[in-house]
Symmetry: C2
Subunit: 307 residues, 2 copies
């Protein structure tokens, strides 16, 4: 339902607010609110919503009870019509995800050794070892697996990354069985020509159809980077309602690019996302009341212009 092609004019939005967004926010939302958040998002027409992470609640308290969140969502919605991926770090998380009824999971590693050590306490090589049993279980249970590749452009510890790393690791993730790789500008530091450097190599090796781009707007370049990625054939983009999710490496700065802003740009360009932007802005306003802060979305604040 989410397959992309570099030729068509349809954009696939992967809403990561309830997972990547919330896990980087100070404010904790309970299970009820997170289920309601997902429910409201479905009303906008979004077809893929990442709803949780099956990780240690000691390490990521915001994602506690993700199993219950997913179970409750799957009681309401048909996962054949709307896709609710969850993040799994290892075999144990994968078993929980299967028990909860997950139809898609996401695994994650980084282009930077130092980042992986700091983030998941293992080397890149070890992270791939952890993936093997996850992929085996996925195959057995017919669960789709998406791969996240962090720090594809910049690392907070190693600085600017070589595009070769993202290309090499994307190929490995696909070979392992991922159907798509999401290339992350974790620091929100990339600029359009740097995006081209990574994407041109990636397209040659794996084609644009298996690539998603995951931009953070920490330095304001996310929409420009998305535009450049679009120009190079990418059609799948991760984004977070209200720009939920800060940047742990620049306190007070923005993290994920706002879904409202991404959808606004693409609609203005005559492209289709299948999303009702006005409804999305209403979810953004609802979420503002839940988060007790002004969300990092420009369109959410400014609304739509007179057409």
């Amino acid at each position: 339902m989410k397959k992309s092609s570099s030729k068509n004019k349809k954009i696939n939005i992967v809403e990561v607010g309830p997972r990547d967004g919330l896990q980087n926010e100070k404010k904790f939302l309970d299970v009820d609110t997170r289920v309601e958040f997902a429910r409201r998002l479905t009303l906008t027409g979004i077809k893929t919503i990442e709803v949780g992470a099956f990780v240690s609640p000691q390490k990521v308290p915001q994602m506690a009870d993700s199993k219950e969140v997913l179970e409750r969502i799957l009681k309401i919605f048909d996962p054949k019509k709307i896709n609710f991926p969850v993040l799994v770090p290892n075999e144990h998380g994968m078993q929980d995800a299967i028990e909860a009824g997950a139809r898609e999971v996401a695994i994650f590693t980084a282009c930077s050794e130092k980042f992986n050590q700091a983030n998941i306490n293992c080397s890149i090589e070890e992270s791939f070892e952890r993936f093997k049993p996850v992929l085996n279980l996925a195959k057995k249970n017919k669960i789709r697996v998406r791969g996240y590749l962090s720090t594809a452009f910049y690392c907070p510890y190693e600085g600017k990354m070589s595009p070769k790393k993202a290309i090499e690791l994307s190929k490995r993730l696909l070979k392992l069985g991922c159907y798509e790789v999401s290339i992350g500008d974790t620091l929100g530091a990339a600029t359009p020509n740097e995006v081209s450097d990574v994407l041109k190599g990636l397209k040659k090796e794996i084609g644009a159809g298996k690539i998603a781009m995951h931009f953070h707007d920490t330095r304001g370049t996310a929409l420009a980077n998305i535009l450049r990625s679009f120009e190079l054939g990418v059609r799948t983009f991760d984004s977070s309602l209200g720009g939920l999710g800060g940047c742990p490496y620049a306190p007070g700065a923005q993290g994920n690019v706002s879904t409202e802003d991404v959808v606004y740009m693409f609609h203005g360009m005559g492209l289709q996302t299948g999303i009702d932007l006005q409804k999305l802005i209403e979810v953004s306003q609802w979420m503002t009341s839940k988060m007790d802060k002004v969300l990092a979305t420009r369109v959410g604040k400014a609304g739509l212009p007179k057409s």
Copy 2:
């Protein structure tokens, strides 16, 4: 000193914070602070700084005493080395600008009749009548004239504008004697393909070298629009330190795109602006203390990544 060519890799930044920025801020800055703001901006390497508007202080109190601001700045700096344009609405303002020693002025009109009526209380045709004596005085005194064209994409009253209007009026402004036209997305509502629609026609008629783009970031698309403009050959961009300047049509939303964010993107793309970004961020921090608010700049908040 600011001529652009679509072939070179040099970007011209026109800093409009002390004028277009401040005139849309609630907080009033006195003459001393505005002169100091311009002085600090010069230290970053910016070569064009719009420092005031010779308009009615009843209508635009933030720009009161612009004459004194310009006079004091011109006592410190050589206008042959750094360009300090001021806005003039009519012959009277032009006479004041000449007395103050201005070497460049800017005139302004809009693509939308309704906007012009609301903004400067005259029709587009009447605005051109007002320009004639200004241009005559400019010629006599060897003063460069820049033309601003507002609401080139969207108007708060008329909605989406036809690209034809921007093309027709740009040609008229150049014919009148302007050396450059700054095409404004006053509402911050344009998206990249809309930018292409205007720019492709403009390039054909007048060439990219006489076009500057003036984007507001109200809906987050400014950097994407700047990227698209750059791809189409434009090399001159207006921006405002710290994103100073709100949007009168969407209270609480952002106006001008932040200079720090524009410079960050271009530097990341391997282009030259002649601006020291770290020094610019320092001016941004100083300005934060003067404005008593968090400025609308992403790079100013996040700083530079490890390189």
